[in-house]
Every structure is written in structure tokens, then in C-alpha cells.
Symmetry: C2
Subunit: 344 residues, 2 copies
């Protein structure tokens, strides 16, 4: 079933059918109805390949997650990536696009993977998930080839030239540390995420800024460069226990959970002896003992907004470059030094 068949049945020309399908003006109500009736009767949908060939548009966007979902980076919380994927998918479907998924895999070299993505031209644009490293090559090629793309998370290089959606990690981290200080904590340590990652860097910077603002001397030995997972949180906390600290700002909830465990194993009380604040507000944060005080970031909204921006860019409804920061919220539970349990 093709355009021509519909045209014949409706007694009009191909172009008229095309016009009806694309909702163009200059079609009389009568013929429009005639054509619509046939289209519906036949359940006709135009061939996307033919359409793409002539319009040079596919109504498909690509999503690139440079690392395997089961990677150390995300092993503890598939929740984070699931939510992102869902956010993107919902928005693309809502706007009548389709989603092509490019997941990094451990068998393939990164360069080959990126080339595969770049060479596949059946996408109007891309959403790139900022990861622990390595996506710069992809980003540079994308910039050079003028393929529209939006990053989820601040890019490491030339952020001012790149479309991205993120959160204000610096202020959020700063606020978390200030909160710990307000609870009477003064030797506040931090365990960072993978330091090649922009989020990790910015949260560390927020930690530093908070010290400056509060006038607390910054002890560099209280900064442990870790990775965004539970095992590193546990290990890094063990190290910090030797230094004597009364609070820890963990760069994400997985790290925080690892830290909680190390503290408890050492026989110390949370938050009395050591207070802990995490980042993300994953579902697990509400169920730890004690429940985790953490910075809530709108993961789903971030993904949806990034997708929206990309589609707006594609449709000429937004200007490039655009940078969007979404708000975060400090969720105070039991791990930070306050006795109450204001859960939400």
C-alpha cells in the first residue's frame, strides 16, 4: 500500500494525498475528507524510508550511553540510567519521534563504537549521556559534522558551545556541606565520584567553595577521590575513619551507602559521631538505616528536558547553544545530624 494506491482510490493525485498527510493548507475540505477516509480505511502510513530520503529528516533521535549499563559506573543503581532512558523515550514518543539506542559495550573499543554511531546517519540528532570519560571524541566529531546534539550533564570541554541540560552541582554540593556545618560539624570530608566526570568535579568544587564561604580551613587530606559506586564509598570511608572526621559529603548515594556501612562496622554512630549526606536521592536513600540525607536531583526531568531541547532545536524552536540547569533540593532525613525525619 503506497501513496499512489490511496490516490487512485480517492480519485486524486499523489501530491494531494501527500498534502493531506502532512497537514498542508490548500486542500479543500471535501477532498481532505475523501482522502482521509481512504487512509483510515486502509490504515495507511507513509514509508519512513522514502520520506527520509527526500526530506533528509528521519524523525528518529539517537541516545548514546557510552558505557555498558552494568559497568562499575552504574552497577549499584541501574535506577539512574533506567530513569534517564524512560525520560527520553517518553518525550520522543510524545513528540512523535522514535528512539535509537546506542549503548557502549565492553567488547568494542570506544573509538569503533563512536564511529559506528557517527556513521549511522538515520538520526536527526542525538542525546549524549555524560559519562566518566571518553565521550569527548564523539562530541568533537559531532560539533564538526554539525549534527545537532544535547548532552545530559555538563561537557568537559567548551561547555559554552554545547547544548546541555544539567543541574547546578556546585551550589547543590555547597548547600549540602553548609547544612552539615549548621549541624555543628567541622571536620567535613568528601568522597568524590570518578573525577573525570563533570558532575564529580563540580560537586568537589562546591565542597571547596562551602569551606571558603564558611571560613573553615580546608584540609586536603579530607578529600578522597573515589568512584561513583558503593565499593569505593566503603573503601574511601575506611580511609577517612583513620583521619578523624565528623561528617562526610558523598558525591552520590551509592558512595554514601558504602560509607554508611564502613562507619557502622567501625562501631560509630550516624549521625552523632559522623554525619553523612549523599547525592541523587535514589529510592534506596529512603530505606537505609539511618535514612539518608541527600541532594535530590530530578533525573527523569533532566532527561525529558534534554530531549525536549533537542527536538526544539531540530524543529527550529530553540537556538543553539542552550544551557539549562534544573533545580535540586536537599532532602533532610536522619543521616545528617538532625533528629527529625522530614522524609520528603
Amino acid at each position: 500500500m503506497k501513496l499512489e494506491d490511496i490516490a487512485r482510490q480517492a480519485g486524486v493525485s499523489r501530491s494531494t494525498v501527500s498534502r493531506v498527510i502532512n497537514g498542508e493548507r490548500y486542500v479543500s475540505d471535501l477532498t481532505r475528507q475523501k482522502v482521509m477516509r481512504v487512509i483510515e480505511a486502509e490504515q495507511f502510513t507513509p514509508n519512513p524510508a522514502a520520506r527520509a530520503l527526500v526530506t533528509q529528516r528521519t524523525s528518529v533521535i539517537g541516545v548514546v550511553i557510552p558505557h555498558p549499563l552494568q559497568d562499575v559506573f552504574s552497577a549499584d543503581d541501574p535506577h539512574y540510567f533506567s530513569t534517564i532512558i524512560q525520560g527520553i523515550s517518553d518525550k520522543t514518543q510524545q513528540r512523535d519521534y522514535a528512539t535509537l539506542l546506542w549503548l557502549g559495550n565492553s567488547n568494542e573499543e570506544a573509538t569503533r563504537f563512536y564511529r559506528r554511531v557517527l556513521q549511522y546517519r538515520m538520526m536527526d540528532g542525538l542525546v549524549i549521556i555524560a559519562s566518566v570519560d571518553g565521550e569527548e571524541m564523539l562530541v568533537e566529531n559531532l560539533l564538526a559534522s554539525h549534527i545537532p546534539f544535547v548532552m545530559l550533564g555538563r561537557p568537559l570541554r567548551t561547555p559554552e558551545a554545547i547544548n546541555y541540560v544539567s543541574i547546578d552541582n556546585v551550589s547543590a554540593a555547597q548547600q549540602a556541606v553548609q547544612h552539615l556545618f549548621s549541624q555543628g560539624k567541622t571536620r567535613i570530608a568528601t568522597i568524590t565520584g570518578d573525577i573525570e566526570n563533570a558532575d564529580a568535579q563540580d560537586r568537589l568544587q562546591g565542597y571547596r567553595q562551602a569551606h571558603q564561604l564558611l571560613g573553615i580551613p580546608l584540609d586536603e587530606t579530607l578529600i578522597v577521590k573515589g568512584r561513583f559506586n558503593r565499593a569505593w564509598g566503603y573503601r574511601s570511608m575506611k580511609q577517612l575513619l583513620k583521619q578523624g572526621v565528623d561528617a562526610v559529603f558523598a558525591a552520590n548515594d551509592s558512595i554514601a551507602v558504602g560509607a554508611l556501612r564502613a562507619i557502622q562496622e567501625a562501631g560509630l554512630r550516624i549521625p552523632e559521631d559522623i554525619a553523612v549526606v549523599g547525592f541523587d536521592d535514589l529510592p534506596l536513600a529512603a530505606t537505609t538505616t539511618p535514612a539518608l540525607t541527600t541532594v535530590r536531583q530530578p533525573i527523569y526531568a533532566k532527561a525529558a528536558r534534554a530531549t525536549e531541547l533537542l527536538l526544539d532545536l531540530l524543529e527550529g524552536r530553540a537556538q543553539s547553544p542552550a544551557q539549562i540547569l534544573l533545580p535540586t533540593q536537599l532532602v533532610i532525613r536522619h543521616s545528617c545530624g538532625i533528629g527529625t525525619g522530614a522524609l520528603q
Copy 2:
């Protein structure tokens, strides 16, 4: 850059370039090399839309997950779906296909969602993830339209006519129950998953069969129809506690974790008072207290195998209908009545 440009530069015709790209015979080594050189110099890749238009093949497969990833069905273990998505993605990339993702979303009616998927014709075939319900309409339409597809999980209707990859849920469940019996347990209850789901049904059947085989009378009040999540596990276990049971076979690990909690809150010991066996062997199964005895199923392999089957079908290297069952393994930890902790 198109075929014609390459042809001109190489001093041959379009058809010859096409032949080289598609690795056809009857191209002299000399011209093949000449052409290859130009292709590589220009980093040329043929336009997929043009190709799809003429060949009627896209080298794209679709993946349909009928429910949102954050749905109750999977809320507790994004791990399950992440692993599936990764398994599919890895295999498609390895075989030089691309992956189009269709995630159900809560804003859209199921019928509309399926129509969207069915009408989008730029896919050679589909992998459908069996879910709690509702995908029958999709399956029927797919069968009628002769679009090749493979289900992940046994389909509810006409399984003999459908390509699918699953595990032998019946035997696996049976084995789990037999193991509980071998530990001296006789009032063995079960908490099922969403009963519209084939896995849930089959695991329940295995539970029944085990009783028959072992000659234990089956007490229907020990069967609680639940859902595949922690909250239902908790709730269902509370109910079972009133009936007096000494073991529970949970239809998945999330349910088992909920059950563990209910048992512990009641002040009972695991496994001495009540033994628990789960299903899936999610990462969390190894970290519960006590560690969970569970049926390990090869989630990643299932997804990869389903994808492989689909691609083989598409390339005429497999015959439809094909049904594949992958093996499972009972992983004995501490929750089932045995004192040892053979972790793997």
C-alpha cells in the same frame, strides 16, 4: 557525499561502487581496490534511507518493553530490564544492526502505543519483552502482519506458533520447592508474581508439581497470588504468617526480600523457623541478611539469545517457529535451611 561521487572519483559506475560495498562477486581485484581506496579516503557510508527504500530492509530491530521501566512490575529491580536491554544492544551491534527502543509509558493508552509500534515500519523485526499483560494484541497483529519477532519469555497464547526464548520455569520452581522439602520443610507456601504473566504461572505450576511429586498434600491457602515486587512480598508474607508455614518459595527475588522483612519483623528466624527461596539471582540476593537462596536465571544470555534468534530469522539462518529454553541453576545461600554459605 554519495555513491555517484565515489564512482566519479574512482572512474567507475555507481553499480560498481555498490557492488564493492556489498561485497559482491564479479568485481575485478583492481577496480575493487581502486574503489575501496576512495571510499576509505572519503569515509563514505551509504545512505541508510536510500538503501532501505530499495532493499526493503533496514538493519534495524525494535525492542518493545510494554510497561514503563519504573512501573510497579519492575520498580525494585531496574537491574532486570537494564540487563535485558544491554544484552539486546550488544548483540545487535555485534551483528551490525541498530536498536530502536519502544518503552511503554504511562501517559499513553496501550492500544495507541502498540499501534505506534506497528505502524512504524522502519524495523526488520522485533524483540518483545513478555510483561504482566496486554501484549497479546501486539503479538496477534504481528503474527497477522508477518513481521518477524521473538518474544523474551513464553507468550500466553499459541506459544507453539511463536518464536521465543525463555527458561524452564516449571522445573526450576519444582527444584526449588524440592530443595526446601529436602531441608525438612513441609508447610511450604508460595507467593506468586503477577499471575497474568507466563513466568508467574509456570513457577506456580512448578510449585504444584513438586507437591505432587513429593506426595505432600497441597494446601491451596498456602498459595498467595501477589505481584513481582517487594511490597507485595511483604504484604503476602504477613498474610502467610497467620497460616503457619515453615518455608516460602517466592516467585522472584524482590518478593523474597519483602518476605524476609516480614518474617524478621515477626521475630522469627530465617531459615530455622521459615526458610525462603527466591528467583532470578539479582545482585541484591547475595547481600541480604541472611543471603538469599535463589534460582539463578541467565538474564543477559536470554536477551542475547533472543536477539540472535531474531537476526538469524531475518537472515534466513533459522526457521520459524523456534522455541529455546535456557538452563537455570539453584544457588544455595543461607535463607533456605542449610547452614553453609556456598555463595556461588
